[in-house]
Amino acid sequence: MDFNHTEERMILRDMLQRFMADHYNHEARRKLIASGEAYDKNLFYKLAELGILGAMFGEENNGFGGSGFDLMVVFEELGRAGVIEPILSSCVLAGGLLAELGNDIQKTIIDDVITGTSILAFAHGEPQSRYNLNHVVTTAETDEAEIIINGTKSNVINGKQANLLLVSARENSNEYDETGISVFIVPLDSKGITCIDHHNIDGTSGARIIFDNVRIEKVARLGKIGAAFPAIETANARAILAVSSEAIGAMEAAKTLTIEYLRERKQFGVPIGSFQALQHRMADVLIEIEQARSSVINLAGHLETKRDTRERYVSATKNLVGRVGQLVAEETIQMHGGIGMTDEYALSHFVRRLTMIDHLFGDVDYHLERFITLNVA
């Protein structure tokens, strides 16, 4: 056993940490979001130049990473900085799905994803589906050489910022069946698409996308008819590792701010960190963050194992990270007092992201139930 990252990954981590410290600051991020922008395009290209987008893909797809620990190292740093640029949506979710399902021609798109010139989004969740990956009612009907898509996708991460959508739709079987779901490449500007863009609470962006008789060619299908579900589950597992790692970064940032505050803030003539009531709570926060980190390491290390093993770790990690995320969010605000709730102060932004991560890809309860089901199976 060895709990150290490889030298290459430590170099990647240090480089990204330095870059973010030099180029990303809370005030600029806050102003960007307030101005209505979804992300900083220049910064996104710089991250591409640094190879951060490429680190999300394996060598077989012209990337130079793509393993669980690559995702972990990168996303922890993105979380520590509070990055809102579309890396999760384009490189992990949709990019991962394309790498998994696409043929050689389709996979050439990945080259543009790695340079940041193409942005992908995965349009999968629907208004009724909540966290259930198999609950797809958007339809794809074959009409000679074309396929016609009808349905509504909701909370599509960076849907409006993408130029290409990967859209899941049902070609056969019933509402909750895992079989029958296919994924298609659909340009965002296709006729029949309505895209309603919105900011999320945490500064990221999402979209409601309505498909009204959108016609695409048959070659836009990724893989075989109705057989996309295992790849969707794999992409989702990678996304859960990414946001869980991001949560670790956000927790570390919140912890650091809170420790500084406990040392500096004086009330009753002494630093509030000298009160045992707060010391003990901060100690508990530290313990729980270490547990969350271990749980993320567990998942990163089992990302490439067989499905049943991997998915147990997926649900275990998302459940534990969700629980710890809420604890860290609520305790760090409480220990700050009013200042912790202000928009001007970075803590409230880490807290928003930590809280919203529980609403992505299944929350604490969803993954507890799923873990139990996987254990019984």
Binding site: G206, G338, M341, S348, V351, T355, H359
Partner: protein, 398 residues
């Protein structure tokens, strides 16, 4: 022991319910039901309706236009108002300043200010906290120096809730620097239209700016605006804080929040069945409901033990802690229930009177902002840590 309401109390409940059904404007009710943002005009309209009915000042003596209701009646009114989705009555003038004026104000101050609180001419806000005086409130630095028949005020207050709407602020100011910090504080009433007063909004985690910083630069305040005696303000401040805590359990709010949560959990589907049939979510809901059932009785035990018209003592700290934890948990569960749709931030929807949710479900847009907003409950009015100190010291004698 008898847990039944008397016939009189039940009649009173019916009377309150009938009045609310008839008088609460639908546009205000809908905003409160969906957790949307109220305007100043909304609050003033509801205050006026209550005042016209004679029910605005539920804690005031009759001779000043109050209802003089007992603890049970006030509890019934609060429960019914919350269930009907009436707005919270802005407390600063009615339930915070007024008791101080009754107890320590002179006759001229009572005559001048109390009617204007009732008829809505004045909107009061609270000038207590400062950047370096939060939990340690007695260390305030805003100074008031006597110059002829005026005090000259310099300094800064913060976390001033709804100060953007207010035209008056009651302030704790330092009038003596040479004594123990509690002994040099005075209680001063300041007209916010006086030159030298500046209000700056503080944007919060929920996207709103309901609190403010208030700056005072050579603000001249007539000496007749001093409440009670100079340097005795700490006594009045503490008196006010105990009154602030009389309704601190927020049982009425929790009842309404639980009703909303149950409604949402019954209508949101997950994997083909309603969320309230998911054992994990149902258990969370049941747990907080069980706590709330006990809290209703704890609250009534404490408030009815206090003498009529008086505030409860250190026991109110217990109500504050448990009451805020329950309210926070309910807001957390509603956010959780909404699922992925709790992510979008839709400020235009939250501000508008139009209730058609642009994306999905009418309860969704306010769920996360409200969860974040509710974090304040365990921070303001004496943080829950301070309440625990009070319990340890006063009740446990540790």
């Amino acid at each position: 022991m008898d847990l039944n309401y008397t016939d009189e109390q039940q009649d009173f409940r019916t009377e309150v319910r009938t009045f609310l059904n008839k008088s609460l404007p639908i546009h205000i009710c809908e905003k409160v039901r969906l957790g949307k943002r109220l305007t100043k005009a909304d609050s003033k309209q509801w205050n006026k309706i209550l005042n016209d009915q004679g029910w605005l000042a539920t804690n005031w003596p009759k001779k000043y236009g109050g209802t003089e209701w007992d603890a049970i009646q006030r509890q019934i009114f609060e429960e019914e108002a919350c269930l009907a989705h009436a707005p919270r009555i802005v407390p600063f003038g009615l339930t915070m300043l007024a008791p101080v004026l009754f107890a320590f104000g002179n006759e001229a101050q009572k005559q001048r200010f109390l009617p204007r609180i009732l008829n809505g001419e004045d909107w009061w806000c609270q000038g207590y906290s400062e950047p370096d005086a939060g939990s340690d409130l007695a260390s305030i630095k805003t100074r008031a120096e006597l110059d002829g028949d005026h005090y000259v005020v310099n300094g800064q207050k913060t976390w001033t809730t709804l100060g953007q709407h207010a035209n008056w602020i009651f302030c704790l100011v330092r009038t003596n620097f040479d004594v123990k910090k509690q002994a040099g504080i005075s209680f001063l009433l300041i007209n916010m239209e006086t030159p030298g007063v500046t209000v700056r909004p503080i944007h919060l985690i929920d996207g709103e700016a309901e609190v403010n910083e208030v700056f005072f630069e050579n603000v001249r305040v007539p000496i007749e605006n001093l409440v009670g005696e100079q340097d005795k303000g700490w006594t009045y401040a503490k008196y006010l804080l105990t009154h602030e805590r009389t309704n601190i359990a927020g049982v009425g709010f929790s009842n309404a929040a639980l009703a909303t949560l149950k409604h949402v959990a019954a209508s949101i589907m997950s994997g083909g069945k309603p969320l309230n049939q998911s054992p994990y979510f149902a258990a969370r809901m049941a747990q907080v409901e069980i706590d709330l059932m006990a809290m209703r009785t704890t609250n009534l035990r404490v408030v009815s033990a206090a003498a009529k018209g008086q505030a409860p003592g250190a026991e109110s700290s217990m109500l504050k802690i448990k009451g805020t934890l329950i309210r926070q948990e309910l807001s957390s569960l509603l956010r959780r229930a909404i699922g992925p749709d709790a992510m979008p931030y839709l400020p235009n929807y939250l501000d508008s009177g139009d209730n058609a949710d642009p994306l999905n479900f009418e309860y969704a847009p306010a769920a996360s902002p409200n969860y974040f907003n509710m974090r304040k409950l365990s921070i303001f009015g004496g943080a829950n840590e301070i309440q625990r100190n009070i319990i340890s010291k006063t009740i446990l004698k540790l």
